[in-house]
């Protein structure tokens, strides 16, 4: 994570951040062991729920059939994923897809029915009450859609609440809370009550409260869904900024695709309790796993998500030697600008090597959605070490803000 932070010292870009993916695919994504590892997770609501996950005759039923047959609702069905250290892992889906239940299962706010959850290798489901409290107090903090602030406490005391629960002394927790008031930009409002704040401000308090206990992971449950669009955007940038500054691991639940694409290093797309696709924003948009996902991402401005890596072809002739140079994770929209300006195909250059070229044909194909299906690494032109490596447009750096995880994760 630290590598990413340093790489992205330039100012944040608001519009292009959705397109970002990791700055140097090789360098960062390796970051070690998973924070959360979830496998075969089920949450079934209803009578005798525990029999459902084990019964293969029932597990294959659709939601309506399952309900008719057993009276149960499977909110989470056989879900497995890993959240890596330092990444923003987005779980996205429409309402009723089970995403909020899933995130509550992570700290057992909702008791899972079956499956395993581990945090840093420790089995969460096996924890006793004290250990679980310890997990909630120090390791995973949550930010809620409806804030969940205590209306009778001031902003400061709300932020200090987590510390109070841990038994931190009054002076110390107030001091610490004051720091976080500043961090989320609520200076001067310390003594207000939550009811006197706007929705966005309230959520800043919620965020500060979660941050104040210095958790290993931040869990967001649709934190910005209740906010106005402009404020939502502000808050998203706030999260991006915080992530860039602190590199904290985040699990982010949302039903808003644009939010998912803006924030997520990786996105798990849920439907009816299952994960239908898990991948980088580019993979989700570029190669939807099924018709549902395709329909879902249909209106996404592709050129802002897809990178030239997916659009390039092998260089032919002298193409590898001329034309503007772009980095592999340049977005298509940025490449279009470069190509349009110079009128010739752009070279995709990584550390001085020309990986391939993108011409207007390929770029238009991406925009129109008719381009060839991305085949991952593309066909790299035989590496021609090139002296033009420095010519990579500086503009790219800014889009590499908060991304840490590597690409090409299936």
């Amino acid at each position: 994570m630290t590598t990413t932070s340093t790489a992205s010292s330039s100012s944040p870009s608001s519009s292009s951040s959705a397109s970002a993916s990791s700055s140097s695919s090789g360098g960062v994504g390796k970051a070690g062991s998973p924070v959360f590892a979830v496998d075969g997770l089920w949450k079934v609501f209803g009578p005798k729920a525990e029999r459902i996950p084990g019964d293969s005759a029932l597990t294959d039923l659709g939601p309506a059939e399952l309900r008719a047959r057993t009276g149960c609702t499977a909110a989470v069905r056989d879900v497995g994923f890993e959240v890596r250290k330092g990444e923003v892992f987005v779980v996205m889906g429409l309402s009723g897809s089970g995403k909020s239940t899933l995130v509550r299962c992570l700290t057992r706010l909702i008791e899972p029915t079956a499956g395993t959850i581990s945090i840093d290798g420790e089995d969460v489901r096996a924890m006793d009450k004290a250990r679980l409290r310890e997990l909630r107090r120090h390791r995973a903090s949550m930010v809620f859609q409806h804030f969940g602030l205590l209306p009778h406490r001031s902003v400061l005391d709300n932020i200090a609440y987590g510390l109070e629960i841990q038994g931190v002394g009054k002076a110390e927790r107030r001091k610490k809370a004051t720091e976080f008031v500043a961090k989320v930009g609520l200076e001067g409002m310390e003594q207000r009550k939550p009811g006197q704040l706007s929705g966005g401000q309230q959520q800043r308090v919620g965020l500060a409260r979660a941050l104040a206990v210095d958790p290993e992971v931040l869990l967001f449950d649709e934190p910005f869904s209740a906010l106005d669009p402009l404020i939502r955007r502000d808050m998203q940038e706030e999260v991006i900024r915080l992530h860039r500054e602190e590199g904290r691991t985040m699990v982010f639940i949302t039903h808003d695709l644009n939010e998912a694409l803006r924030l997520g290093d990786r996105i798990a797309l849920m439907r009816d309790g299952r994960i239908v696709q898990l991948g980088t924003p580019e993979e989700i948009v570029g190669s939807p796993a099924d018709d549902y996902v395709r329909e879902f991402v249909r209106d996404v401005p592709r050129e802002q998500v897809m990178t030239v890596r997916k659009a390039m072809r092998a260089a032919s002739g002298d193409e590898a030697d001329r034309g503007p140079a772009v980095a592999p994770d340049t977005t298509v929209s940025e490449a279009i600008e470069a190509v349009a300006r110079t009128g010739s195909p752009a070279r995709v250059v990584d550390e001085g090597r020309c990986l391939g070229v993108v011409d207007s044909q390929a770029l238009l194909g991406v925009v129109a959605g008719t381009g060839r299906p991305a085949d991952g690494t593309g066909g790299p032109a035989d590496a021609v070490p090139d002296a033009d490596g420095d010519a990579v447009p500086d503009a790219d750096a800014e889009s590499r803000d908060a991304r840490s995880a590597g690409e090409g994760v299936a």
Partner: protein
């Protein structure tokens, strides 16, 4: 539907029949009719009589007399009394006396200053002035000592009620099982008239202060318990989840989140408990409470309206002040601005309040002015009595064209109360049960219907069928008047902002007054008898009915109103086709509340010649004939239960009339 019927008579009728069969109410009626058709011939053949058959009554007065004798004989020797009730009784006497002594020691100046300072601290300057005035008026009317007696009893009773209620509420708020067990009990206690609590308490404790305090606690604790449980259970799920997600222990969740989140309900519970305690502390003068209530009671017994008024003015002022101060405290707590600094400065302020009160009390002591100076007493009894005499002479009867108040009362009795009573008593007993069952089932569920029928049957079995129907006839007449007037005023107030603004303070005052107080003006106006009891009941129940009606009509969704207006509906069409149907739950609630409140006062009307069950209770207390009183009390409970269940809409609200 009508159009179809006229156009194609045959199919129209068929469709009508189908739609009627599908209707739930019709199914219920059909079933009841079948049951009735089977049972009534049998029942009628065996026990054919208009009134409740002798064969079906159980004589409880003998065993009750024996029980009461046994208790009186063993009150000083049986371990249960020695080691439990005896201690309770002693503790009550001691604590009431202690508070009383403190109040007397503080002197009138000290008490007034302390009350005003507390009011100022929790509720602001205006209420502080009001509080001071209320206490001074008590002194002016020469009611200082009785007021302190009532206050001492109240302090002890309210503290006990709050502790008891909060504990019960805590248990019910945290445990589902306790809640399910406790809720029907609390709901039922809420609807029982205060009178029915007196007898069992007297049976155990005898007449005296302990009985009065215990009756008050039993009457006043349920709202605290109810509201505590409601508040704890109603905690915002999102907040509770967030708090749990931070790793709180169960204790921390309760103390830092659940209880603070319920603070509004807790304060509302405190407010209601205080108001009900005051109401009961006044009524409990019948069982030896002393104080203001006793003065009213004595004055009413000798129809001395002036003296009754002098005693009831402090009661009313005390009620208003207590209600406003606790209410304002609740609102302040709800939206207080800063908290961090206020904890410390709050202590300082409270210190100032204490110091100020003590200083005034000491000043009073040193200037030897502990007792209210006799020179400052205003005797209003005589002028009031003169006014009443004048009214009796000039307004009672013979006023040209309009008649007189006594004439009205007489006409109401002969033309309304008597026919209704005779009609009810003339009905075959089983048909009364059938009517009760039908009404209760149509409005509620089969459970409420069953409870209602059983309660009514119990009245018959207790052998008080006739007096109960007498009481019922008064209740029905009073409820009819209340609803007609209440709905009319409510409907107008819902349309006119100005009228509502005018009405609001009046309703507020009327809703806070103890039931007892309503008897005084009606006695002045109408003399004694059943009509004044009904009038008092109407006046007591009217504010709640008006308020619920107004709120119900106002809360009708503005969108529905707007759309009907956009379709060109007239005012009348809007009221009839949109507002009334949408406000149906509120109107049903108004009926329910009206019935419950009317019953409470009709029973108390036994003190002013209402007769029937209320009189039996008073008689039982006065003559030491506990058996009669207890049976009447049980019949009141049954009647209250029946009336509540018959009018019970599916959902209940928490607060009397608000």
């Amino acid at each position: 539907m009508a159009a179809t019927t006229t156009a194609v008579p045959a199919t129209g009728a068929a469709a009508l029949a189908r739609s009627v069969v599908k209707h739930r109410a019709f199914g219920k009626l059909l079933l009841l009719a079948v049951v009735a058709a089977v049972l009534i011939p049998v029942v009628n053949a065996r026990w054919a009589s208009g009134t409740w058959p002798e064969a079906l009554t159980v004589d409880v007065s003998d065993p009750l007399t024996k029980t009461s004798d046994w208790i009186i004989d063993n009150r000083d020797s049986h371990p249960l009394f020695l080691y439990f009730f005896g201690h309770v009784s002693n503790a009550v006497v001691l604590s009431v006396r202690a508070v009383y002594v403190v109040l007397l020691a503080a002197g009138w100046a000290g008490v007034t200053a302390a009350a005003a300072l507390i009011a100022w601290r929790v509720a602001g300057v205006r209420l502080a002035i009001g509080t001071g005035v209320a206490f001074l008026v008590s002194g002016l009317l020469n009611m200082w000592v009785p007021a302190m007696q009532t206050l001492a009893l109240m302090v002890v009773a309210v503290l006990a009620s709050v502790v008891l209620g909060a504990l019960l509420g805590l248990a019910a708020g945290l445990s589902d099982r306790t809640y399910r067990a406790l809720r029907p009990v609390l709901d039922t206690m809420q609807v029982l008239p205060a009178f029915s609590y007196l007898l069992p308490v007297v049976l155990i404790f005898g007449i005296g202060v302990p009985a009065a305090v215990i009756a008050t606690v039993v009457y006043a604790a349920p709202p605290m318990a109810r509201l505590t449980a409601l508040g704890l259970r109603g905690a915002d799920g999102g907040v509770m989840e967030a708090v749990a997600s931070m790793g709180t222990t169960a204790r921390q969740r309760l103390l830092t989140a659940r209880l603070p989140l319920a603070r509004k309900e807790l304060l509302l519970g405190l407010n209601q408990t205080i108001m009900m305690a005051l109401s009961m502390a006044v009524i409990a003068s019948l069982v030896g409470a002393g104080g203001l209530g006793d003065r009213v009671y004595q004055a009413l017994a000798s129809v001395d309206v002036g003296a009754a008024l002098a005693a009831s003015i402090p009661i009313v002022l005390l009620a208003i002040v207590l209600d406003r101060v606790t209410g304002a405290a609740g609102e302040r707590l709800g939206d207080s601005g800063s908290s961090a600094s206020s904890a410390k400065s709050g202590l300082v302020w409270w210190g100032c309040v204490a110091v100020g009160a003590v200083a005034v009390a000491l000043a009073g002591r040193f200037t030897d002015r502990l007792n209210w100076p006799q020179g400052w007493v205003v005797n209003i009894a005589e002028p009031v009595n003169r006014a009443v005499d004048w009214m009796t002479a000039h307004l009672y009867s013979g006023v040209p064209y309009v008649g007189g108040t006594a004439d009205w009362a007489g006409h109401f009795t002969t033309w309304v109360l008597d026919p209704v009573r005779d009609g009810l008593q003339g009905l075959p007993w089983w048909s009364v049960l059938l009517i009760v069952a039908t009404l209760a089932w149509l409005i509620g569920t089969w459970r409420t219907a069953l409870t209602a029928v059983l309660a009514m049957a119990a009245i018959g079995a207790l052998g008080v069928w006739k007096p109960s129907l007498d009481t019922l006839s008064q209740v029905l007449a009073a409820v009819a008047v209340t609803l007609v007037v209440g709905f009319a005023i409510g409907a107008v107030a819902a349309r006119s902002e100005r009228l509502e603004r005018l009405l609001r303070p009046v309703l507020d005052v009327f809703q806070t007054m103890p039931q007892f107080v309503y008897l005084i003006p009606v006695v002045a106006l109408f003399g004694v008898g059943r009509a004044p009891a009904v009038a008092a009941a109407v006046v007591y129940a009217l504010p709640a009915v008006i308020r619920i009606t107004t709120q119900g009509l106002r809360q009708v969704s503005p969108a529905a109103m707007e759309s009907s207006r956009s379709l060109g509906a007239t005012n009348w069409q809007q009221l009839r086709q949109v507002q009334l149907p949408l406000a149906r739950p509120a109107l049903l609630l108004a009926v329910n509340q009206g019935v419950v409140l009317v019953l409470a006062v009709v029973i108390i009307g036994g003190l002013v010649g209402g007769g029937a069950l209320g009189y039996d209770v008073v008689f039982g207390l006065a003559q030491g004939d506990l058996a009669t009183g207890l049976v009447a009390g049980a019949a009141i409970v049954c009647l209250g239960l029946m009336l509540d269940r018959v009018t019970q809409p599916t959902e209940r609200r928490t607060r009397k009339g608000a």
